[in-house]
Symmetry: C2
Subunit: 136 residues, 2 copies
DNA sequence: GTCCCTGCAAATCCTTTGCACTCCT
DNA sequence: AGGAGTGCAAAGGATTTGCAGGGAC
């Protein structure tokens, strides 16, 4: 088991994620932490985000071709991904044990109980799409 | 509406995908088509895959940080993604209208009925993992 | 003092794009 | 002829990695 030493940069990253419910990307974390540590590098942010997710302190969400998102909430919950803007939302309070049982029986492997993702278009992007369509 | 002209490269790509149930990546398509058109370029493969998916002839599956996968089967069905090897599998014959209704009611947007993805570890990778674990 | 962590830059992976040329219609 | 399609190479976004110096223990 690898030893982990204290670093104030890592604690700042952890604290930022903890107080943030929006599943920020590495770049968003970088921009936020930079206000506190102007010299921090993006590489360090990536290294720490990966470290924290390997420890199980946070979850790394790789659900699109775009940038990964990071979630401080490691409890079981599903996500919704907007195909338009790439944002990741929590799927509120949906618990589907019968789904996992039913799906698990036919799946080509073992499904992580909380690794279920719905894809669609979020309300923000729907609103923008309608605005654009009516304007043309 | 943009005019689309015939190209033998595109038809070869379409034919390859049609006869392939494994959701190949652009690179896998490239390697396969190269046997028929040794001078085809990866850029052309990407352009045609995007063109075909814009036409609705195929589906582009962007479910991980790794390479996208392409699916000739455009009918409604769900997918399983292996977090280990990145492969995409079909979820066989699972139809969950009650899931879409229940989930849709609380979702932060409109869910595409067939855009539901289960993440986990596939049987192949489970087998490899066990082999590696027992060997150490 | 040792080893982890950092900042920086270069490298990597996947995908898109600009350009000159070719092929379809 | 006109414009879509091609091959090639360069550019692009996101992430990882190598290295020399700095900090935790």
């Amino acid at each position: 088991m690898k030893t982990i030493k204290y670093s104030k940069q890592r604690e700042a990253i952890r604290a930022f994620l903890c107080g943030n419910r929006s599943h920020p990307t590495a770049d968003e974390v970088y921009e936020a932490i930079r206000r506190q540590f102007p010299n921090i590098s993006l590489g360090t942010v990536y290294r720490n985000l990966n470290l924290l997710s390997e420890c199980g302190d946070i979850r790394k969400l790789s659900y699109t071709a775009g940038p990964d998102h990071f979630d401080y909430d490691t409890s079981d919950h599903y996500h919704f991904v907007c195909r338009d803007c790439g944002r990741v939302y929590d799927m509120p309070s949906i618990c589907l044990p019968e789904l996992n049982r039913e799906a698990g029986a036919e799946a080509p492997g073992v499904i992580d109980s909380h690794e279920l993702v719905f894809y669609g278009i979020c309300r923000d992007c729907l609103a923008k799409g309608e605005k654009k369509a009516s304007g043309e």
